[in-house]
């Protein structure tokens, strides 16, 4: 019975994966490895694929996804790195150092934040953070210096990273603090009883023991960051522009758009086959990244378990 259930679930997952990759194939086939490279404007390419189908011309497949891949990478790593550091400190504080009353307030708040729908985060971003960046962070000089390629309005990589950090940090904190809490008291007391101070004890024994939970939380949060579409479509500017580190500080306030948000924006135009294949190709890349992410998490966790489990 249980076996059948497991098989059904596996079959379901496999069907989805096969379906997505099958639908994606023509787009990869037409572009080859160039699919992943840069070349031209992604938005214009999508437009071209769409109009060619609408005008009943020969289907166009040309698509170079680098800007949106790069944008996804930047936003995800930025947000995951920021929230990892923040979440680690907050969860160590919650579990080990916070007085009881702070803990009883903080924990439900964190869990609530973890469950707030992303549209709401997007709304806050659009109403608060984006105008702030537009007015106080970006100077007229900045605007002028890159005006020939992109317009800076506040909808930016920075806004995306910050709001995304706010969104995934609670998730990480929840998983991290569960992990830290389940570290056996005896190990911590053993270290304290040897005269090692609380910080060192918690760092060397607590955090070290909870490393698998840190990995699990990071994988979960990264998956959510990769898949986030609505909020990022709202605050990052909605142009498939690749922020250029060579631009200096302006880099952070340049607009961009990740893979998932691209799918969201193009999803009304799925009717044309060429369009559908292109969108599915983007989806396939996302799916592949998610699979790789889980795999990496699993691989990273293995050596950490070496000393932990009783066998």
């Amino acid at each position: 019975m249980l076996g059948a259930l497991v098989c059904a679930v596996l079959l379901f997952v496999l069907t989805i994966v096969v379906f997505v990759f099958k639908e994606a194939w023509p787009s990869f086939q037409h572009n080859g490895w160039a699919w992943f490279s840069s070349g031209g404007n992604v938005d214009r390419q999508i437009q071209e694929i769409f109009t060619a189908a609408a005008d009943l011309r020969r289907p166009v497949y040309t698509f170079h996804a680098w800007p949106i891949i790069w944008g996804t990478f930047l936003i995800t790593t930025g947000a995951v790195a920021l929230s990892f550091v923040a979440a680690l400190f907050v969860s160590v504080f919650i579990v080990e150092f916070a007085p009881e009353w702070i803990r009883t307030i903080l924990e439900p708040v964190v869990r609530l934040l973890a469950s707030v729908p992303s549209v709401i985060f997007g709304l806050v971003g659009v109403l608060v953070l984006v105008p702030f960046i537009g007015e106080h962070v970006i100077s007229d000089d900045n605007r002028r210096s890159v005006s020939y390629i992109v317009s800076l309005s506040g909808y930016s990589l920075l806004a995306g990273v910050l709001i995304l950090t706010l969104m995934i940090a609670p998730l990480m904190i929840a998983v991290f603090s569960d992990g830290l809490r389940s570290v056996p008291r005896g190990w911590l007391e053993g270290s304290l009883g040897l005269g090692i101070n609380r910080w060192r004890t918690f760092w060397k024994i607590g955090v070290r023991t909870a490393r698998p939970a840190l990995v699990a939380g990071t994988v979960l949060a990264t998956a959510r960051a990769l898949g986030e579409a609505v909020m990022l479509a709202m605050v990052t500017g909605g142009v498939a522009f690749a922020p250029n580190p060579a631009d200096g500080v302006i880099f952070f306030v340049e607009p961009t758009r990740p893979l998932a948000a691209t799918i969201l924006q193009a999803s009304e135009e799925l009717t044309a086959p060429a369009m559908r294949h292109t969108i599915f190709a983007i989806a396939a890349v996302l799916l592949f990244s998610a699979l790789m992410l889980s795999l990496t998490g699993w691989v990273v966790k293995q050596p950490m378990k070496k000393y932990g489990v009783r066998a």
């Binding site: 053993g190 040897l194 090692i196 932990g308």
Partner: protein
């Protein structure tokens, strides 16, 4: 501040000092049960800690009630008493581990070399007064790292592995674990047997080089031969370290302790030299308990 009164006999091996009855670990275990006291009381006992009318309660429940005791270097003090009488609680209060329990509240004073332990930094106190717990709690690391942990943490600069080797080996030898683990020091400590884990914890505590060693039933999971190794270690250690041991094994208390404290329901019923407590107990409670144990 730490060494207002320098410990007089610490780390000074007495001339010609040899435990009188070093039994080969391989000797028949049956001898342990019948052998009497290991050593005569040490000639140079120095008071290191003083427990002064200590009361400890968990919430409203009083676990230790107005206990006063001296703890001397050069002697082994055994805490005995039925389960739940507050032995562990008293032991934990000696290096302020009780503070980690949120509900615990304390009254009274504990002095270490004349200084109230409440005024010491807990970390500094625990460095000098080190605890081996009732449940073996090796860290989820290799055997080597378990012992090296405290050495690394106490060093101001992280020492090389090579530099630690000697200290780790000597600690493991003294705890009687070296022969079993020397082939594979990278073995995960949690995969040792319960008794090996407990000896590893003792080795870990020895590596910390304490002045007072608190042992909470260190032999409860050990076979007779390992028990004997630990008992000999304790007897040897008492010249350099003040040793307090909690034990349910009255034979063991009789074998190794110079002084015995009998606790009952949180109260210290009787405290005195081992011969007196076991031979001519003053309180009826003690008589009952001791005769039960030897009956």
């Amino acid at each position: 501040m730490r060494f207002v009164t320098p410990p007089p006999v610490r780390r000074l091996p007495l001339a010609g000092e040899q435990p009188a009855t070093v039994v080969e670990p391989g000797a028949p275990g049956g001898a342990v049960a019948t052998s009497g006291r290991r050593l005569q009381a040490s000639p140079m006992a120095v008071e290191r800690m003083t427990v002064d009318r200590m009361s400890i309660a968990y919430g409203a429940k009083v676990a230790v009630d107005e206990v006063s005791l001296p703890i001397r270097q050069g002697e082994v003090l055994a805490l005995i008493g039925p389960s739940g009488c507050g032995k562990t609680t008293l032991l934990r209060s000696l290096n302020r581990l009780t503070e980690l329990t949120k509900t615990a509240s304390m009254k009274g004073r504990i002095l270490l070399d004349g200084t109230d332990t409440a005024t010491l930094e807990p970390t500094a106190l625990r460095r000098r007064v080190t605890m081996v717990f009732q449940q073996p709690n090796p860290f989820p690391m290799s055997v080597f790292d378990n012992v090296a942990y405290v050495l690394r943490e106490q060093a101001s600069r992280r020492p090389r592995k090579r530099a630690l080797q000697g200290a780790v080996q000597s600690a493991l030898e003294r705890a009687g674990l070296w022969e079993e683990v020397k082939g594979n020091l990278a073995h995960p400590a949690l995969r040792l047997s319960g008794g090996q884990q407990q000896r590893l914890c003792i080795a870990r505590a020895l590596a910390a080089d304490p002045e007072v060693l608190l042992l909470d039933e260190p032999c409860s999971a050990l076979d007779p031969i390992s028990t004997q190794v630990i008992e000999e270690l304790i007897v040897q250690l008492r010249e350099q370290v003040a040793v307090v041991i909690v034990t349910h094994n009255l034979q063991q208390a009789f074998r190794i302790a110079d002084y015995v404290a009998f606790m009952y329901l949180g109260e210290l019923v009787e405290y005195g030299p081992a011969e007196q407590v076991f031979g001519a107990p003053r309180a009826d409670r003690t008589k009952e308990y001791v005769s039960g144990g030897f009956g």
